[in-house]
Amino acid sequence: MEEAFVGATIPRDLGKIVGVESKTRFKAEAFTKAFLKNSLKQPWKHDLKSMLSHKAVLLDYARPKKDKSKRKKKAAKGLNARQKKEMKIFQIKPEHQRYELFLPLHELWRQYMIDLCGGLGPMSSPQSVQQKLVKADFHGAILTVIRSKCPSYVGTTGILVQEFKHVFKLITKEDRLKVIPKRNCVFEVEINGFVSHLYGNKFEQRAGDRSAKKMKVRGSIDL
């Protein structure tokens, strides 16, 4: 086989028959890198480029044997909090904080919102939409801080990437990850011309818990 065929894209008519679509060059490269990084032996992990320049790549390898007595005890258990902290389980690495990477997520979120509210035309009543928004998921939404006790937060716009109990993590257009507390902030969400305000004081729950708990009408918010 000639080597040129390795990087070649699948011809379109052939791809239709098989049902495969070859990805763009950038995506394919990213995939190859991630695949090699995950499936190569430990000490080679740092220099992928030199590995790729060689012709033969050994993908599967014999793992070093572990003592079985230890593994059987902890087989199906989850991780505890300390292990999670050590693994940095939910921390986004700085090289992934790019705004354009999250645009498809935002597109997906809009689809989901339109589904949830059943069309979202001018006819749908704002009350029912807002009631659904309370239980909805906001990962991928574009949020803007419109009011806050701290003036430096006002005007921040970005795609919501992670929602924690007291904090939103937004990624802004300048590729920066911003952490904004929910307390004493008012956020604005825009879906298809429908603008809604989220009062951060009422949202101080984890993203998963919010769908289970009832929102109570209590007090007023003056900001």
Partner: protein
């Protein structure tokens, strides 16, 4: 009836989270942290609301660290067999090392795939939960291009209308 309607929203949310995890991974295969976070939220929601997920979904999420298992990207799949020659598919999460062993047997089928498990065979009225299960199955297409995913959303838009007619 109100309980069923509320569950439908929750199922939509689960669907979205699962798709979002796959969307993030398809953008950048190394960003497992975020995908894991979304699957973790999905898991907590099912825990809090006591919802049942389809095995096809559950089997693609790591039990230990909640990352979505995609062969080649976040997991390795190997075929193994034991001394009695029964074959297994072993999926191993690359980030935490937890492995799943699934039986390969053409004779065996899951409980949900069997005809007596379907609700319509027991009661004729309960159509809505079954539809939701189908939604969850559709979630497998998280990596699909936008044209196909929009097709699945169209299906979902039709769903409320069909269930409404059944209520009448």
């Amino acid at each position: 009836m109100a309980a069923l309607m509320k569950d439908k929203e929750a199922y939509q949310r689960l669907n979205f989270l699962y798709q979002a995890a796959h969307c993030v991974l398809s953008q950048n295969p190394e960003n497992t942290e975020l995908a894991r976070f979304y699957c973790f939220t999905q898991k907590t929601i099912t825990k809090r609301l006591v919802l049942k997920q389809d095995p096809s979904v559950k089997r693609t999420i790591c039990k230990r660290c909640c990352s979505p298992l995609i062969p080649g990207v976040t997991a390795t799949t190997r075929q193994r067999r034991n001394k009695r020659k029964t074959r297994f598919t072993v999926m191993r999460c690359l980030s935490c090392g937890q492995s799943k062993t699934l039986l390969n047997d053409p004779e065996y089928s899951l409980w949900v795939d069997r005809p007596e498990a379907q609700l319509e065979n027991q009661k004729q009225t309960d159509q809505v939960p079954k539809d939701n299960k189908k939604n969850l199955k559709n979630k497998k297409g998280g990596q699909l291009p936008p044209s196909q995913s929009s097709a699945s959303t169209q299906q979902q838009q039709e769903l409320p209308s069909t269930s409404g007619s059944k209520q009448d």
